[in-house]
Symmetry: C2
Subunit: 470 residues, 2 copies
């Protein structure tokens, strides 16, 4: 049975497929001010689940949530030279408040290192106060010239962690711990994205950091997306804000710091990792709705789906009942497919006679009749199977579309053809990186030969991952 | 054993006691931009628990979370005449973005009725799309001339619900449901504040509403604090934004709307309701830390508090272990008292010999030795007892400090003496209300004789609650 495509096919126009999906699955709209977005309930439900999973891991890593102001005095930004240079072109500036022109304009936070250090410098007195581990969930603003919903928006939602430590080693270890135990664990095991963990080159480092750790995912079109970063800030902000502590032996020392963040951009990454021509596919561990139970038609079906919904809820499954029998069944089925709900359970009059239900699985695809009464028991394993399948597909894509190369030209060719290249960093270096940039190709990260994160850019055997990116 | 007061006593200077408590319990700091605040981890922990409890109730009431942009085109605000008049003096205006002057300045949201209606008018097509029930957790900015931490800040955190309904009755019922089932249920049963539910007079109504429902609490000094509001917006914003739907019989109708919000101001209300001269007292159902287990000194005590902490956690209690035996015990005890943790369990070397622990209860006060092993079983009932006690004290204060009066002068006197007055609204009216305002006294709300919420200002038997307020 041929049907008209609901979305522009990925193969025809990937960016347009992405935008179609966001509109039709009702994930988000463009906001009225250029570059802003409205996150609709289903899209926000994805973000809420991301927040919950990350927040648990962040607290497990010992950090506590707090909240710092949206408005930062312009003068704070200028105290760390690289930082202001990096952010100045993207700032939104408030010049009027309460009907008057302000004496000093304030900027809307693009990130909070500066304002947080102003307080860290007050709160940190002695080595007993360290490590100080803070996180905040907040909106930030970076004026965006070429906005794209979820991926690049002038305002986005994120979490930003900020920590202060007594030693370089402790800060370094904590940045690595967040990278691995919070971000990678979440992205691999919940988002089902086979991210690569590496370090950024000097060119791609965060403005003000001495080292940036990154997580890079391969999207459906072979481009890379940076899904999160964890920075070692060294003592750069500590110097700028004089954040000192009294050491155990009575000396005054500058703290060592980290900062780290992930944002609503991950929603874009989720779509581009797992989506297909029928819409989104949401990994079950993330899904706000893991199973939808649809009544096809008739009052008795409605009663049956409600009863089954209750049983599935009792079995710990996040379930939604769709009993809108006044809306055509086909339209509802397509809609749930677009939204990527992992499992659809359909019940109509004939099923009631037979004690069956039709089980449609969004992730592997396919439909089969099942005994309705067995679902509360069988569904959890089915969902775990689907979770594993998405990660496997993500890994297979990355592996099959990554090419080992040894020259800059081969690397550029692999990237422009829609894939990743692996090239020894020694063969590329900062000069090669600059040449690739002319072709809109970048070094996404550096990794060690064994896949671990190298200690330095020039560690022997370091490999660069080269790609086009979002 | 006399000790120097940790805080300015309430009786000496209530506002200073409030500020002292916020500093010493490490709840918040003033931000660098006038009127903004930094919410520190313990203060934010209180807000997070408020969010969780409210979010559950909001979802139970059928609303879904979403997110609308921080920046609103200035022109949107002007579309509803009363609304812009109410908010214009408090707006923060962004005039520059991305290094350039903006063509149209944008305002930082003071509330989101306007931008939300812009989208409701697109999303709502037919009666099938109604009711549309949306909530968002967000920061908002209202430039504040006389800021006070948590109570009046230029930026604050809140939730704002926005709904659209097919009929006046449906909207009215939903505003009342939020008022009662979400807000009052949370404030009475979690915050332990014996709030009065009423309607605002025309003078005190939200700018753009046809009716404002409010929850008013009496603070420790007898003043009133508005803890939340739920508005019927009628069709005011629907007209301004042309938010229409196709009715079942094919006509085009304007929607009827509500909006409702509570904010970080509730943290201020919590402090001023339950705090005493030793610090905060946090109701157990809200408390991020319900019990702290302190090791007095010695390695064995440390092991014992960790083990007991695990047992209490397993019993479902939110517990924190304080094993910082290198910090003087007295200082730690005072600190937990300041933070208002309901139950403190202290274990020292002598307790280990006897299998005892010292149980200090912050809410009723007092200390007694108990068998340590019984605590996982006995503590839940103790916490519920403390929860009930706070509500009882809140109710007793309100009752004992509310005076029945029949004249404007008596009402003004009761309010300026630090209490509330109840006066028949027929004896006061808008003229009386204006006269009270000259003495900084206001009508907090109107209630029916039986304590319910009246249907109209002029319903027979309506009583006005008159007080000074924050």
């Amino acid at each position: 049975m041929a049907k008209a495509p609901v979305l522009t096919p990925q193969a025809d126009d990937f960016p347009r497929w992405y935008q179609d999906l966001i509109n039709k699955a009702e994930l988000a709209d463009n906001g009225p001010v250029r570059g802003t977005m409205v996150i609709r309930p289903y899209g926000y439900g994805l973000w809420e689940r991301m927040q919950r999973e990350l927040d648990d891991r962040i607290k497990e890593a010992g950090a506590a949530n707090a909240y710092f102001p949206l408005f930062i005095p312009q003068s704070y930004l200028t105290r760390e030279a690289e930082h202001v240079e990096g952010f100045a072109p993207e700032l939104a500036v408030v010049t009027h408040g309460g009907g008057k022109e302000l004496e000093e304009p304030v900027v809307v936070r693009p990130t909070s290192e500066t304002i947080i250090n102003e307080y860290f410098s007050k709160w940190v007195q002695s080595y007993r106060d360290l490590p100080l581990l803070i996180n905040q969930w907040a909106n930030v603003v970076r004026w965006e010239m070429r906005p794209r919903v979820f991926l690049r928006t002038s305002e986005f939602l994120w979490q930003e962690g900020h920590t202060a430590h007594a030693t370089y080693e402790d800060a370094r270890e904590y940045a690595a711990r967040i990278h691995r135990e919070v971000y990678a664990d979440f992205m691999v095991n919940v988002l089902g994205i086979d991210v690569v963990l590496g370090r950024k080159t000097a060119k791609e480092r965060f403005a003000g950091a001495i080292n940036t750790l990154t997580l890079e995912g391969m999207m459906g079109d072979g481009k890379a997306l940076q899904l999160g970063t964890s920075h070692e800030l060294g003592q750069n902000f500590a110097k700028a804000f004089n954040t000192q502590y009294l050491s155990a032996d009575g000396g005054r020392e500058l703290v060592w710091q980290t900062s780290w963040g992930v944002s609503t951009r991950m929603v874009g990454g989720l779509i581009m990792s797992h989506g297909d021509d029928s819409g989104l596919r949401v990994p079950p561990r993330l899904a706000p709705v893991q199973a939808v139970v649809l009544a096809i038609k008739g009052e008795e079906s409605v009663a049956a789906v409600r009863a089954l919904g209750d049983k599935l809820k009792a079995a710990g499954i996040r379930v939604q009942v769709d009993d809108r029998v006044d809306v055509p069944f086909g339209r509802r089925a397509v809609d749930w497919e677009l939204k990527g709900v992992p499992v659809r359970i359909e019940i109509g009059p004939r099923d009631l006679e037979n004690g069956t239900a039709m089980l449609a699985r969004r992730i592997p695809g396919g439909k089969e009749p099942v005994r309705a009464e067995t679902l509360p028991e069988t569904l959890p394993a089915i969902l775990e199977e689907d979770q594993a399948l998405l990660l496997q597909q993500s890994r297979e894509r990355r592996e099959s579309r990554t090419t080992e190369v040894t020259t800059l030209d081969e690397a550029a060719q692999a990237a422009t053809a829609g894939g990743w290249a692996r090239i020894p960093w020694a063969k590329l270096g900062p000069e090669g990186e600059a040449k690739l940039a002319e072709q809109a190709v970048s070094v996404r990260c550096l990794i060690a030969e064994d896949g671990s994160v190298p200690d330095a850019d020039d560690a022997p055997g370091t490999v660069a991952i080269v790609a086009r990116s979002y």
